[in-house]
Symmetry: C2
Subunit: 242 residues, 2 copies
Amino acid sequence: MKTDHQLQVAIKDSILFRDSSDAFISKIAAKGSMTHYKKGKILFVHEDQAKRFFLVKNGWVKLFRETLDGEQAVVDMVTSGQTFGEAALFQDNIYTYSAEAIEASDIISIPLSLLQFEIDNNPKFVKTLLFYNASIRQLKDKEIEHRSLQNASQRIGCFMLRLVDQEKLGKTNIHLPYDKMFVAAKLGMKPETFSRALKRLKKDTKIRVKGATIEIDNLQQLSDYACRACSFEFPCADLKKD
Amino acid sequence: MKTDHQLQVAIKDSILFRDSSDAFISKIAAKGSMTHYKKGKILFVHEDQAKRFFLVKNGWVKLFRETLDGEQAVVDMVTSGQTFGEAALFQDNIYTYSAEAIEASDIISIPLSLLQFEIDNNPKFVKTLLFYNASIRQLKDKEIEHRSLQNASQRIGCFMLRLVDQEKLGKTNIHLPYDKMFVAAKLGMKPETFSRALKRLKKDTKIRVKGATIEIDNLQQLSDYACRACSFEFPCADLKKD
DNA sequence: GCCACTCCTTGACCTTTGTCAATTCAAATA
DNA sequence: TATTTGAATTGACAAAGGTCAAGGAGTGGC
């Protein structure tokens, strides 16, 4: 089928499965199904029983948790090629966060049992999963550091730097991938704080902001500003080899 | 030898190796060596070439990073049964943080090559490592949440709750495992803030603080206070099955 | 083209945490 | 026991971020 082929391509393009055998990818494609979600659609909520995990074909999904009094913490934002919900395998098949499409998104869902089977029977895949997890862990460590050492403007600058095409080192434009209110949430600040911090960033680094488009004339100036409060040098090692 | 036996026991008691075969444990013990470190001793620094990883027999080690202007962020505090430095395997054999003994500690160092060999040849161990990493990743997610949703007093309360023996539900005493300034650093706040927040916590939850000893009469009151700003219920799932 | 909706921004004010300096406290050593 | 040293606390103040309320801007639907 056409759809089946689409699935295969999307799976083959994903971070987790790009090195998998064609046989395994076919198996996943056979059991997987793709759904389109509108912006705002909730896919599952924290503590739901987990039967499937998800692979984003395109769009953006917010992973988050809520406290009793309605406060929300963003766990992650995931996009094309990334998976979510697979961590439930290690948490008694309970989702440890809720998931919401924050842009119109095409998302492939795959039975967790398939992943479980592969973990039990395919050592090579387990190794892939291990490396995948290790790199996420590393990113989380960095994020915790950013929360304690960078102020709001620096965190926004850092967020932008991660969007920059690492090839070109002169002037660049970037495009915020989703609404500013979600960027704020991802960075752990309120929209009002984001707005004011962005203004300060503009003044201090001479970037220009036109809606969701950011024009960066001097990348060095931006990285000096943001990475001053970070223990890693720009460009971040985890972005280089991509 | 006596020492060799000591090593074997410590390794067998560790989280990462408790399910390993006796053969593997002997191999580790043979290549590992135990060293005593005084409080304040630096074991390695961020971006050092990594040849060995470490297993804490007893004591406490602070894993941290520093920015150019001397600010410090704590990545983790590790103690008996926990390992550190092993993540370098996934980072081109470069340590991604510095390590300092913050209490007098006995620490076993083991060649990373041994771990690498096992990853390449022992699928069962890879699976163990995968689960180990997954649970750490889960903890990191929770920590990021805490940073955005809990205030200083609540974070201290949460820290205490994690030290409570989960068996007894009435009155308990706990003992802070290391200096308050390090607890503050671990929780991402300044010592002065810690001191003031602890005072507020005392007033609000009726705990009593005598130096490093905390007397908790009403666990419920403490968990109500701290976990109100958390998306998980007390007692935390990751503590229950221990 | 107009309406409605959501996102974004701004101002005024408040709360929390950080900073700096001065003490106090307590454990370790002589 | 006296001394020294690092840890912990406190006060006064500053800075960062959050809250609440109002208004502006952009976008999609009709």
